[in-house]
Structures are given as C-alpha cells and as structure tokens.
C-alpha cells in the first residue's frame, strides 16, 4: 500500500520537476514491498485449522479412543515435517502455515485428550502447555506470526482463567511477560511491542478487577510508565508510555461518567496511597530529570480523583481538560501535528463528558449549549492559528 502510494505520488513529483526519474527510482527502491503472501498463509492456516477441527468434532464420538490419539499426534507430526521441509527449502510462508496448523492441532489435542481422559480442564494448564509449545517452536523458527499466535494463546488463557475461573494464573503471567515479553523485545519491532503492552495492560486490568479493585490498575499503569524510563529503547519505551497513558485516559473517562458515591471505601485504602504517592513522585521526578516539561502534565491522569467522592465527576473532568490542553500545547511547542490531533480528540471527549455529566445538573440548558459552542469555537480558532503558524514557519524556513 505504502509503495503504491509512493509510486503514484513520485510520478507527480517528476512531472512537476521536483525530482528526476533517477531520483524517483532511488526513492521507490527504499520502500520494499511488504511480504503480503505471509499474511495470506497465516489466515489460511487459521481457516484450515478451524475446518479440520469442526470436521473431526462432528465424527469424534464414533472413533475409538486409541485412534483418536493416533489421529491427533499423526496429523500434528505430518504438519511439523511439512513445515520443517518448507523452511529448509526457504519457503517461509508455507513453513509458518504448516507450523501454525501443527500448533493448533496440538492445542486442540490437549483439550480433546483432557476431555477424553477426564482431566479437570477447569484450569489454565492446557493454555500453559500450549503457550510453552508455541514459544519453543518460535525459538526454533523465529517467525513473527508464530510469536503473535503464542502471545494470543497465553493472553486468552489468562483471561479465561481470571474472569471465568477466578484464578489468576501466575505461571501463565510469567510465561507472558518473561517468555513472550523478552523474546518480543529482541524482535525489536515497535508494532509488536504495542500489541504486547496493550494485551499486558488488559491482563493487569483483569487482575485488578478480579483480585483487588479496579483503581489498583492505576498502580500497574504507573509501573508500566516508570518502566518506560528504565528500558530506554524506543522500541519498548514508547509503547509502554503510550499504553499506560491511553489506558489511564480511558479510566478517568470512566470515572467521570460512571463514578458512584457508593464506592467510597477507596478513600480508606491506605495501602493504595502507600503505593501511589511514591510511584507518582518518582514519575514526576523522572520527567523533571529528563527535562520533559510536558511529561509531568500527562501525569495528572494518575491523580486519585475519587478522593472526594462528591466531586469526583468534576475532578475527573478537570483532569481530562488539563491533560488535553497539555497535549495541545505540547504538540504546538514541539511542532508535532500528531500530538495536536491527539490533544484535540482528548479535548472533544472531555467537553462531551462535561456536557452530559457535570454541567447538566448545575447549568441551564441554553447556557450550556452556548458554553459548549464557545468552547468548540475556541478549539477551532486554536487549530486554525496552529496551522497558520505552521505554514508561516515553513515559509520562514524556506526563506532562510
């Protein structure tokens, strides 16, 4: 897609005389076509795996126990052999496809044998063994899709275990963080780390609501945030910080919209503050030490807005405003268009929340629509000014 875009754009540039034909070729050659067949093989593996499963499941009870075992193991080994041969002949797509089918058969096999032989499948055991097998296969053939497959297996296993069985499985968590996290770190692809940290955040949130209370997630998000300073590599620190801030934004929005006074026990939870205060101070300190003027502003999201239950909605809205205006100014100062857009989106969300929650009670309807209009007008003017500034800035840049 990217290459297609570059090709059509660069043709225009040549026509307009900005670059010549040779430069165009040089630019295009920098954008190598992504290997899309790999994606097709991946999806094909998923579909064919599902088809096999449903076919066997339909006739399963008619097959004798021993034959079932032979069938499962035989099919698994056949796909491993096919995959290994494909990798030897350097046909990566087919290799990944065959390995993923084999791993699916293994996972299904664990569940089916568990059912046949009366293993109590009410535990994370099957997912643990399955996730471990995928990780081992990944180590023998470092293909990204195998890593993603295993990551999702462990993620789903942990969700099932936590939400449905009410047992947060520490072994699965260790496999997720130490196994898949470490391996993912060495792949050094930011996209994959975004996936990993997002899933990790979901698991931490599930842990918080299941074993503690939802607001404990704040502590975990803070830890993720602090880790972004410890592991400075851009591959991991950006996703860590991004996921942490984004998830906290969602939580504050939730608090602004649905906070209920009846959950007042929060205020008495001293242990929570014993964690929150040092971690938050540390985060502010790190932002100051790293000369991130705006890093400190986004930390407002971690403030405990539920400290005064009567004012929580208002405080949450104020926090959202502070955050979004901080992002707007940060984007303006750093000339980062993406941050400005982010700030605008955050600002609009904050405005809508105040609109439905806070002001509705206090203000007259007409007055409220008027205020809403004026606020939006100011956003529009700000954006306009920003764009003009940018154009002026680029003009000046050209002049010099």
């Amino acid at each position: 897609m990217k290459k297609g875009w570059i090709e059509s754009e660069s043709k225009k540039w040549v026509e307009e005389g900005i670059i010549d034909e040779r430069q165009k070729e040089a630019i295009i050659s920098r954008y190598e076509r992504q290997s899309t067949p790999m994606l097709f093989f991946f999806l094909a593996a998923v579909l064919i795996g599902l088809a096999c499963l449903s076919l066997i499941a339909a006739n399963w009870t008619a097959i004798h126990h021993i034959w079932r075992v032979v069938l499962i193991m035989g099919a698994m080994l056949v796909f491993y052999i096919v995959g290994a041969r494909a990798f030897m002949q350097n046909r990566q797509g087919i290799g990944v496809f065959a390995f993923l089918v084999a791993l699916s058969i293994f996972g299904a096999g664990v569940f089916l044998l568990g059912d046949m032989y009366h293993f109590s499948m009410n535990s994370a055991f099957a997912f643990l063994v399955w996730g471990l097998a995928v990780l081992l296969i990944y180590l023998s053939q470092p293909q990204v899709y195998i890593w993603i497959f295993g990551l999702v297996v462990v993620f789903i296993g942990q969700l099932v275990s936590t939400i449905q069985l009410h047992d947060f499985d520490w072994l699965l968590m260790a496999l997720f963080v130490i196994g898949y996290g470490t391996v993912g770190y060495f792949i050094k692809q930011q996209k994959l780390m975004w996936l990993f940290t997002s899933l990790l955040a979901v698991l931490l949130f599930a842990f918080s609501i299941e074993e503690l209370t939802y607001y404990w997630y704040t502590i975990f998000a803070l830890i993720l945030y602090l880790f972004s300073y410890i592991i400075k590599t851009g591959v991991i620190s950006k996703p860590l910080q991004g996921v942490s801030i984004l998830s906290m934004f969602i939580i504050v929005v939730y608090q602004a919209l649905f906070f209920n006074w009846s959950w007042q026990s929060v205020v008495n939870d001293v242990v929570y503050y014993l964690f929150l205060i040092p971690f938050l101070s540390l985060a502010v300190l790190m932002a100051v030490l790293n000369r991130e003027r705006f890093g400190a502003i986004q930390l407002v999201l971690f403030l405990p807005v539920f400290i005064w239950p009567e004012l929580t909605t208002l405080l949450a809205a104020l926090v959202l405003f502070a955050f979004s205006i901080g992002k707007l100014i940060e984007g303006d100062q750093l000339k980062d268009g993406r941050k400005v857009k982010l700030g605008i989106v955050a600002f609009l969300i904050s405005v809508s929340i105040v609109y439905v929650e806070v002001a509705w009670v206090a203000l007259d309807r007409t007055l409220f629509f008027l205020t809403g209009g004026i606020i939006l007008l100011i956003v529009g003017l700000l954006l306009n000014r920003y764009q003009q500034n940018q154009m002026k800035g680029s003009d000046e840049h050209d002049a010099t």
């Binding site: 499962i72 193991m73 080994l77 568990g114 046949m116 081992l136 180590l139």
Partner: protein, 173 residues
C-alpha cells in the same frame, strides 16, 4: 544446527505432553486412590443423554453448617471439599471451603467449582464428574434402577479424577 535441535525439543515436548495425558489416565486406575460416593436419587426418564449418564452427587449440595467460606464466592470459583467415609466405606461431605484443607487419616480433599446458592441457603457445587459412559450391557441395568447409584471414583495425587465404575443400589432415603 542449533535451531534444528530446538525444533526437535519443541516437537518432542508436545508429543510427551500428549502421551502423558493418555498414560496418566491408565496410571490413575493403577495408582490412584479409589473412593465411593453416592448420587442423588434420580428419575430414570432423565438419566440418559445419548450414550452417557448425567450424574449429580449428594456431595454437590452443601448445607450452611458444612460451608466454611469467609466471603462471597463467585460462580466457578475453586472450592475444596473434604470427604469422610462412613461405616460402609461410602464417602460423605464433611466440609467445603475456599481455602485449601489438609486431609487426615481416611479423609480425602477434592477440588470442585462453585455453582450457585438456592433459596434455602444451600450451596451448589460441581465436582466435575457428571458424565459417565456405561458399557452397552450396563445401560439396561441403569435404566431399570429406580433409586441411587454408588460411583467409584479414582483420585490421583496430582489432582486428576475420573469415574471408575457405577453401581446401582436401593438406598433407603
């Protein structure tokens, strides 16, 4: 070369896991401790679902006096059940708790899952042994029986359990 070795290890690991699951079931017959528990009285009309019997045990309903759970339990939560034998060697529920318990002398502890609490404050749990596939000749026998069944279950030290045999008895209520 190194990768090849890892691949062999990975595939070997999977084969071993599957084989372990197959053999452990047979090992259970050999080495597991076998206890007998009682089912609820059932209606013969409802017993068969296709080729298997749906069994509910007396030990799956827990009266408040045997219930040792400190706080509210959630559906599907792990419940430890302490069973103790009577003079005939049939095991009955002695206590149920969300905390791990240690078994003394002849008692056994098995893991169940919480289901729900009914209007009479009775807690319902699931031992995870509610399906039994009887042999063909045994099906008639079960069908003609009117009362309860005694179920022999094998328990392994690693927490696996399965039904070994089902026997019909006429038990006085």
């Amino acid at each position: 070369m190194m990768r090849r070795r890892v691949l062999f290890m990975a595939v070997g690991f999977q084969v071993v896991v599957l084989l372990f699951m197959v053999t452990s079931s047979y090992a259970l017959d050999q080495f597991g401790k076998v206890i007998t528990i009682q089912t609820e009285a059932y209606d013969t009309e409802d017993v068969f679902y296709g080729d298997y019997v749906d069994i509910s045990y007396v030990a799956e309903t827990v009266r408040p006096e045997n219930w040792f759970v400190t706080e509210g339990v959630k559906s599907n939560q792990r419940i430890y059940v302490l069973l103790t034998p009577d003079e005939q060697g049939v095991y009955h529920l002695k206590a149920a708790s969300d905390r791990e318990m240690s078994a003394e002398s002849d008692d056994v502890v098995i893991v169940a899952r919480y289901r729900y609490q009914d209007q009479e404050q009775v807690h319902h749990i699931d031992l995870g042994l509610d399906r039994y596939h009887p042999h063909y000749e045994q099906q008639d026998e079960i069908e003609s029986s009117q009362e309860r069944m005694l179920v022999m279950i094998a328990l392994s030290p690693w927490g696996q359990k399965k039904i070994v045999e089902v026997e019909n008895v006429q038990v006085e209520p």
